[in-house]
């Protein structure tokens, strides 16, 4: 029987998304709605003297104005919820509204609530704030030095934590190594830029004491919990609804002050409160990503065997530690330092550093692209140093396909893999040998062609909850599904994860429909409402399908098992003799005696004739907690031409071979890879958030922050290999971040290969024309 699993059917969520009939948070309208806007610090670092709100309070339409002094005793500071073990994390309180000091441009000092958005906006200008500006620190490496300006008195040298990963004996490996390469890398700060900025609508019912928050959330259950902490409200009186959410890329995981303040104001005023960012506000206050300064080195033999990797990383955290921030440059970064390779000796020291910038947290890939980038840059340097083809160096150091499950030096155990297969497939799609010939010819003509390669692994499908506890994550990492069958046999599935563009309303329905012998139309997926779904941990880290999808499958199987018992009763057969076959229940060896799933569903729901001891109804819940993470992998290749006269990089071809296990919906997988690769190429080519020395964000709008446009991006040639994971019943691995992990590194690899005749081995991303030209000028100047 043909299955829906593996079928590239169209996304069921798209008709409403592309015809404007979806309901986003900012579309929610309630009677008596008021509108909030925030007064935000124009200084990156300043003492806050007085905040005079008298004029604003009297302005037309203004309902209320709150300052930090009004809220500090009523609200608990924004929590940080990830405390990796052994790193002495210091998280000074992050007040929802500042009352003593501001620590980044955009730090809120007052909240204006008015009858209309325009009136709120006008009143913001009437709030008079007396700031006493202080010197700002924006660079994480400089901020960590002795004598640097202190952001928080209780955090010496602004170092929030120092975390170490170690396996083998890196010191000995480097001491005795034949070959060493090293590099200083700046992994620039990025702006996540979800298509929908953040928004919140909060409504508090004074009679019942119930708070409802509609919010742009990737994880409504986590937000329910953190809201209950900040607001000191019992968790069961809070309902968080994530309606349609227009992307997140990690930026909608954290708890923010703004949403909680809407809840606070709604409770104080007895009227619903709405707030929605515009893009400028989004760039200023919604979390940023990356921001590493890294000193990295690799060692090994002349023959190309890599024996060690060492790093020292300064990871910028911004003014405060955001919800998951400490876990990103540590657990999600340092633990994957082995990449797809057998590197026996690893040591990384990571400093998390406070700076006078917007807080940094998880952004697509979150720690793993930074790891893949530094590993792959070092691999390229290493190959060049020993005169080996960079492809060959990778092939030689891959974890062999017959060694899985494989424990790397950092302690992780990779579930399954076949790295050679993905590499070979990419090489054959591109025709590597032909390109090298073309490149040699072009070099003779004075043209600069290059090819980049990256082989990556990532850690996804988080994860075992026990491990989550061990690594200091402030919550579980299982997920949940409730499968409910209606009298007509139609099915609704309530899931704990909270997709926001990834297509699980389609893929999860494919999983369930297969188990019931149904067309996909018979199944609806409900997510994003804490009052209808069971506890779950949200959608991020490419975990939703591997973890929540497995709960969906298990719940569906539980339902079907109960239905089988009822079917046996209806077929007047022994339970043991009834099997699910060809999409229906049938008595073994008696092909004519069958019941469809829908027939059984009707009987279960009306319960006129049930087997003894079996309860009416047909539904089941399942919670799935995986035994390990999953480790997707792949190889990307990219060819470029560099115009040496202008520094302009033209991407000629981009080949991505990714292995995320068996695809449930290949079209959706390709879409995820497309988005991921493009986001990574944006990082490689043109995206960078720039602060000046005073902590002003110079790339505060899309006129200066270069999110990739379709016209700037190449055609992508995709390939897949399929290596199932043994750690979940679907065998899937996750593909949401895969494309992003290696693509920035791949582009930089290609450009550095193109410029090899000039002696250029590394240029920090993004490879804007100005940077590439400057590197070429420097290289030419350095030549005799």
């Amino acid at each position: 029987m043909a299955t829906l699993f593996g079928s590239g059917i169209k996304r069921r969520e798209d008709p409403r998304l592309i015809t404007g009939s979806a309901t986003y948070t900012d579309d929610v309208k309630l009677p008596g709605l008021t509108y909030a806007m925030f007064v935000r610090s124009p200084y990156a670092h300043a003492r806050l003297n007085t905040v005079n709100v008298e004029a604003a309070r009297k302005a037309p339409g203004v309902v209320a104005v709150f300052t930090g002094r009004d809220t500090k005793d009523k609200l608990v500071p924004v929590p940080c919820a990830w405390n990796p073990p052994g790193c002495d994390l210091k998280t000074p309180p992050h007040p929802l509204l500042a009352y003593e000091r501001v620590r980044y441009v955009g730090d809120a000092v007052a909240m204006v609530v008015a009858e209309s958005r325009a009136e709120a906006r006008d009143a913001v200008d009437l709030v008079e704030v007396d700031y006493q500006p202080l010197k700002a620190m924006v660079d994480p490496e400089k901020a960590a030095q002795q004598g640097a300006v202190q952001l928080h008195e209780e955090v010496p040298n602004n170092i929030a934590f120092t975390w170490t990963v170690a396996g083998g004996d890196a010191e000995a490996a480097f001491k005795s190594a034949e070959v060493r390469v090293d590099l200083r890398i700046v992994q620039q700060r990025l702006l996540p830029t979800a298509m929908e900025p953040r928004a919140a609508v909060a409504s508090y019912n004074k009679g019942s004491g119930q708070l409802t928050l509609w919010a742009t959330s990737q994880n409504p259950h986590i937000h329910r919990f953190l809201c209950s902490v900040m607001l000191q409200l019992p968790e069961h009186r809070i309902r968080v609804i994530a309606p349609e959410v227009g992307g997140g890329f990690g930026s909608k995981i954290p708890a923010y002050a703004d949403e909680a303040l809407c809840c606070f104001a709604a409770r104080e005023l007895g009227r619903p409160v709405k707030w929605a960012e515009d893009r400028s506000e989004n760039y200023k206050v919604t979390i940023h990503g990356r921001d590493h300064v890294e000193y990295v080195e690799m060692c090994g033999t002349k023959a190309g065997r890599i024996t060690g990797l060492r790093t020292r990383v300064y990871a910028g955290l911004g003014g405060y530690a955001s919800t998951a921030a400490p876990g990103i440059p540590t657990i999600l970064h340092g633990l994957v330092y082995s990449g797809p390779y057998t590197i026996p000796n690893i040591r990384g020291v990571i400093h998390g550093v406070y700076t006078n910038t917007t807080p940094v947290d998880a952004y697509r890939g979150a720690g793993r692209p930074e790891a893949a980038y530094l590993i792959e840059r070092l691999m390229d340097l290493y190959a060049r140093k020993i005169g080996m083809d960079p492809i060959e160096l990778r092939r030689m150091n891959f974890i062999p396909r017959d060694k899985f499950p494989y424990q790397v030096a950092t302690g992780l155990t990779y579930d399954s893999g076949n790295y050679e297969a993905a590499l070979e497939k990419a090489l054959s799609i591109l025709d590597y040998k032909a390109f090298r010939i073309e490149q040699a010819k072009a070099r003779k003509e004075g043209r600069y062609l290059g090819i980049g390669v990256v082989s990556y692994i990532e850690i996804c499908g988080s994860g075992p909850s026990q491990v989550a506890g061990q690594i200091g994550f402030g919550g579980g990492q299982y997920d949940s599904a409730i499968v409910r069958v209606f009298p007509t046999g139609m099915v609704k599935v309530y899931v704990g994860a909270s997709p926001h563009g990834q297509g699980e309303e389609t893929t999860f329905a494919q999983i369930v429909a297969d188990e019931f012998g149904y067309p996909v139309e018979n199944v609806e997926i409900i997510h994003g409402d804490t009052d209808t779904t069971a506890q779950g941990w949200g959608t991020y880290g490419s975990r939703t399908t591997a973890v929540c999808g497995s709960a969906v499958k298990n719940a569906a199987l539980r339902v079907r098992e109960k239905a089988r018992q009822i079917a046996a009763h209806l077929l007047e057969a022994n339970e043991a003799d009834v099997e699910w076959k060809d999409g229906k229940f049938q008595v073994k060896g008696t092909p004519g005696k069958t019941k469809s799933f829908a027939e059984v569903a009707l009987m279960a729901n009306v319960a006129w004739n049930m087997p003894a001891g079996v309860e009416p109804g047909l539904e089941a819940a399942a919670f799935f907690d995986p035994s390990n993470f999953v480790f997707p992998f792949g190889t990307h290749l990219c060819t470029v031409e560099v115009d040496a006269d202008t520094g302009v990089v033209t991407i000629l071809r981009y080949v991505a071979v990714d292995d995320c296990g068996p695809p449930i919906n290949p079209m959706i997988v390709d879409g995820q890879i497309h988005g991921g690769v493009i986001q990574g190429l944006g990082e490689g080519l043109q995206e960078i958030a720039v602060y000046d020395d005073e902590g002003q964000l110079l790339t505060g709008t899309m006129m200066d922050y270069a999110v990739p446009k379709a016209s700037q991006m190449p055609h992508l040639e995709l390939g897949h290999t399929i290596t199932p994971s043994p750690v979940n019943p679907l065998g899937v691995k996750g593909c949401g971040e895969a494309g992003t992990i290696g693509s920035a590194a791949c582009l930089v690899s290609a450009v550095c290969d193109a410029l090899e005749p000039l002696g250029i081995s590394h240029i920090d991303k993004p490879l804007t024309p100005a940077r590439v030209w400057a590197a070429i000028q420097k290289a030419k100047g350095a030549k005799p």
């Binding site: 325009a118 200066d704 922050y705 024309p769 030209w773």
Partner: protein, 286 residues
């Protein structure tokens, strides 16, 4: 992004529009709104009144004018792209219009709005200066007057226009056998030019007989290069051209920004000018 409050009037006639602007109270004309509205939303511009001139038919369209063309100020980029007459008489303007923004921007944005806005990185000013266009202006008090494009731009976002004046028409002279080319390097985020250069070249057989090169994006203002005389009389000699292109921006005080440091911008200007002249030279010979 919410602008401060303002009144809105849709002008039913040219006279009505000019009357409102004549009041001198800071009222501003609006057509496509693609430059003005963002500035209002950022509250960089506050105006008591917008006068919408986008429905004044007489300000729209491309017509024949002394073997050149007359372009109404509120003609959209889309209409420039679609104009067969413009494509025949002065294809470079249609080509560049087709590269501005995206389809939505081209459907709304107008050439006159862009020129009156005088963004120092906008493409059109360089074209107008190189092509030696004339701009026709009109006000209640001063009636009609004509300003050369080469005298119109006074500084960043500053022009020769009075507050009470409307830009009504852009007059492009006949090319008379010359050809034009525009080469620009875009800032990846905004799509505006880091630098752009427009060259207009006439040739007698293989020899350059007339040559003008204008720049945008290099400084505060679009301007005409003054060093290209030395290329005239040559067969577009590469050495002479490169020297002229270098000298054209050598003495300029160029400000760098996060997208292009000053020296890179200066270098790109020479590359853009060189490539634009070479392409125009080839086109003129075709």
């Amino acid at each position: 992004m919410i602008p401060a409050s303002f009144d809105y009037v849709r002008a039913g006639s040219m006279k009505e529009a000019l009357n409102i602007l004549a009041a001198g109270d800071g009222s501003k004309a609006i057509a496509g709104g693609h430059s003005l509205l963002p500035m209002m939303r950022f509250r960089l511009v506050q105006t008591p009144r917008l006068v919408d001139i986008s429905r004044l038919e007489e300000l729209r369209g491309v017509q024949e004018y002394k073997k050149g063309v007359r372009i109404g100020a509120t003609t959209t980029y889309r209409d420039l792209v679609a104009s067969a007459l413009l494509r025949e008489r002065c294809p470079v303007v249609a080509d560049v219009a087709g590269e501005i923004g995206d389809i939505q921007v081209r459907n709304r944005g107008t050439i006159g709005g862009s020129l009156a806005h005088a963004d120092p990185a906008s493409d059109m000013p360089a074209l107008m200066i190189a092509l030696d266009a004339d701009f026709q202006l009109r006000s209640k008090k001063g009636g009609r007057r004509t300003v050369k494009a080469r005298a119109f731009f006074k500084g960043a976002f500053t022009t020769d226009m009075g507050e009470d004046e409307l830009l009504t028409d852009i007059l492009l002279p006949a090319l008379k056998g010359a050809a034009a080319a525009y080469v620009s390097f875009e800032q990846a985020a905004s799509g505006y030019a880091i630098v752009g250069a427009c060259a207009v070249v006439a040739r007698k057989r293989a020899t350059v007989s007339e040559l003008s090169v204008a720049y945008t994006g290099v400084g505060e203002i679009a301007f005409l290069g003054s060093t290209f005389e030395q290329v005239k009389g040559t067969k577009c000699d590469p050495a002479a051209l490169e020297k002229a292109a270098r000298e054209a921006v050598a003495g300029l005080d160029i400000t760098g920004d996060i997208h292009a440091p000053a020296e890179y911008r200066r270098h790109l200007a020479t590359v853009a000018a060189t490539r634009a002249v070479q392409t125009a030279y080839q086109r003129a010979g075709a």
